[in-house]
């Protein structure tokens, strides 16, 4: 009896089940997924982010009179960009699209733009509720789909916090330098050496990297991380004073500011941390100024990975409001670490010879 009831139900619902063949999908933001993180919107950006609804007829029958409505979350403003599909409108918080028909195994799509909220206190989820109705030979059907995105707070107030932290780092660096007479330990010749090595990093190799990084494709960053690592090891071995790396990378950024017009004044503290990390490692290794190949490699890997991590996970979201796809960002950090490894190994050999020739 029980099996008979199931059979009757199956016979009754089978045509309906077979007809439910409209698959709904959505992409937002409409950006290259190999670089940018999917389903993440940043509050407070000045532009509209595009979203795309993709409708696929997975059945063998043509679908007609397809009506799609998308409920936009969080009261985001809506714009409808010019596109091939017409009959798309936006009303309050809903995007409505009327699609004539979709043939079997065919897809169609439409785009809309939303402006993420100006400000939210904490990151929150938002749901794009998509509902459709459509017809086939068996009658009218409906389908729905919910696409969840994460809206992260505008980096503006995160930015203010990070600027304050940056200033704090600078003040701390000055305080430590003053307290322990760090700068007085550097001779004139040390300072000239650091300035010139910083010039080579910030001007010559930065230009070299900007010029030829495309030749190596995704490995282009190596053109900067390797020479930077080499020159850092040379600086450590020749100058041999606590604070050398911090001073070196501070001067690198100052040089970049003057020569290339990089707008980094308020971030200077964070850029200094590249050097601070190396100087801390030098102290941890009992004042080993990259005197062994192993320590040279450790310092360079740490600096390179940290610098790239800062770029992709700190500066990009906080300053440029861009969230890179995690695998891409970690891939770049990994490549930077490899650059540090190569640069540290080469740098150790070169630095030894340079030191032998100079001192």
């Amino acid at each position: 009896m029980k099996h008979l009831a199931i059979l009757v139900l199956l016979i009754f619902f089978l045509p309906q089940l077979a007809a439910a063949e409209l698959e709904i999908g959505m992409d937002i933001p409409l950006k290259n997924k190999e670089i940018y993180q999917e389903n993440k919107l940043v509050a407070g950006v000045s532009w509209y982010e595009r979203g795309q609804v993709v409708l696929t007829n997975t059945g063998d029958e043509k679908l007609h009179n397809i009506l799609v409505s998308v409920d936009i979350p969080l009261g985001m403003d809506i714009e409808i960009p010019l596109q091939a599909m017409k009959n798309i409108s936006a009303d309050n918080n809903t995007v409505t699209a009327m699609v004539g028909e979709i043939g079997p195994r065919e897809s169609t799509s439409f785009i809309f733009s939303v402006k993420p909220p100006e400000s939210i206190e904490f990151k929150k989820k938002g749901s794009f509720a998509i509902s459709t109705s459509y017809e086939d030979s068996t009658g009218i059907h409906s389908a729905s789909y919910t696409h969840v995105v994460e809206v992260v707070p505008p980096p503006s107030w995160i930015t203010y916090g990070t600027v304050l932290a940056s200033i704090f780092i600078i003040l701390m660096a000055f305080l430590i330098a003053w307290k322990f007479n760090v700068l007085e330990q550097f001779t004139t010749i040390d300072l000239i050496t650091i300035a010139l090595l910083a010039g080579l990093i910030g001007v010559v190799f930065r230009w070299f990297w900007q010029t030829f990084n495309d030749l190596l494709g995704p490995l282009g960053g190596l053109l900067f991380t390797i020479p930077t690592a080499v020159l850092m090891v040379i600086a450590l071995q020749i100058v041999r004073k606590p604070g050398t790396a911090t001073l070196l990378f501070t001067v690198v950024e100052l040089v970049a500011l003057v020569v290339w017009g990089s707008n980094i004044t308020v971030w200077m503290g964070w850029y200094m941390t590249e050097g601070i990390i190396v100087d801390i490692l030098v102290l941890l290794f009992k004042k080993d100024y990259a005197d062994r190949r192993s320590t040279a490699i450790i310092y360079c890997v740490a600096r390179s990975a940290y610098a790239y991590w800062m770029f992709y996970f700190f500066f990009a979201p906080a300053v440029w409001k861009v969230y890179y796809a995690p695998w891409y960002a970690w891939g770049e950090v990994g490549i930077a670490a490899i650059g540090g490894l190569i640069g540290g190994a080469i740098g150790y050999s070169i630095a030894k010879k340079v030191r032998g020739a100079m001192i």
Binding site: K31, R50, A84, Q210, T211, P218, K353
Partner: protein, 313 residues
């Protein structure tokens, strides 16, 4: 010591020939008028939608009929030798183009196409595929002059370029003058419209835009039309001069900003002579290969190295 000298020598040898493909592309091309004229009809300006790294990058244009003259602009980030783009209009490939029309700064470039004969009335789809390892299109923008004898006569000017206004090179403004040929603009006009396209503006870094010394807006370049892309329409009817009209892009606080286009058109209440379209030759960007500062730092570093080595001896 010999090894170090050899290392430096090889490095310089490597650097010198490579420098001919230098990445700092100079200050680019100040805006200049590429076409002007009078037509019974209008000027269509449209496009979008910011740096998204989509490939293909697609934009749609809903056009009137009778296009008399049309230029398509594809600004691209991070141009380097060997890069190319391929534009398709309504599915018809225009072929691969490897040489951009204007390049400046760190490879911000503009590929410009004359597409007068490629467009159709109604919806046009323009897609761009590209080879550019770390770059992508900022936008696709179309400027099209169309004929419609039922419409009033419109005087228009289309200016293009790619001028790197930058703190680095201390270039603070760009000005383009729409020459009225000795007062051929009547005092009474119905509508005067200015379109501007700016690349690489930043929100909060205050730039300024003036029309005939009248401030049209502040922080115009703030990525409002998409990432690093601003396409704006301004009603400048009340500011029109009967002779020359000027647009002034002021860098202000922006570290870098690139004016790319200024399109100005005035709708006349009465015809002012015959219709005409005059197209001027395209100008070439000046290129700067190896920045002097790079050479200077390199030379000073080598001199210092030599000094320290000799001092030891």
């Amino acid at each position: 010591m010999k090894e170090i000298a050899l290392f430096i020598f090889i490095f310089i040898l490597l650097l010198v020939p490579l420098a001919s493909g230098g990445e700092w592309r100079g200050d680019g091309m100040p805006l200049y008028v590429i076409a002007e004229g009078s037509i019974h009809g209008g000027v269509y300006v449209g496009g979008g939608h910011g740096l998204t790294y989509e490939d293909p990058y697609v934009e749609y244009f809903d056009l009137p009929g009778n296009i008399e003259y049309a230029r398509l602009y594809v600004p691209v980030w991070n141009y380097n030798e060997g890069d190319w783009i391929e534009v398709s209009i309504n599915g018809n490939s225009q072929g691969k183009t490897s040489e951009p029309s204007y390049v400046s700064a760190w490879g911000i470039c503009d590929y410009v196409f004359n597409v007068t004969d490629e467009l159709s009335p109604g919806m046009n789809t323009v897609s761009v595929t590209y080879h550019n390892t770390n770059g992508a299109p900022y936008s696709i923008v179309l400027v099209a002059v169309y004929n419609d004898i039922t419409m009033p006569q419109t005087r228009f000017w289309i200016a293009e370029g790619n001028h790197a206004l930058s703190q680095r090179s201390k270039i603070d403004h760009d000005e383009v003058i729409f020459n009225g040929d000795g007062g051929d603009i009547p005092i009474e006009t119905t509508n005067a419209t200015l379109w501007t396209m700016i690349i690489a503006g930043n929100e909060g870094e205050i730039d300024k835009l003036y029309f005939n010394s009248n401030l049209l807006g502040e922080d115009v370049g703030r990525r409002k039309s998409g990432a690093y892309f601003d396409l704006d329409r301004w009603d400048v009817t009340e500011f029109v001069d009967t002779n020359n009209n000027s647009v002034w892009f002021d860098r202000g606080d922006e570290s870098y900003i690139h004016p790319f286009n200024a399109v100005f058109f005035i709708e006349f209440m009465e015809d002012q002579g015959d219709d005409f379209i005059e197209i001027y030759p395209m100008a070439k960007s000046k290129r700067e290969n190896l920045p002097r500062v790079v050479v200077m730092v390199l030379v000073i570093s080598i001199l210092f190295l030599v000094y320290r080595v000799r001092r030891k001896k």
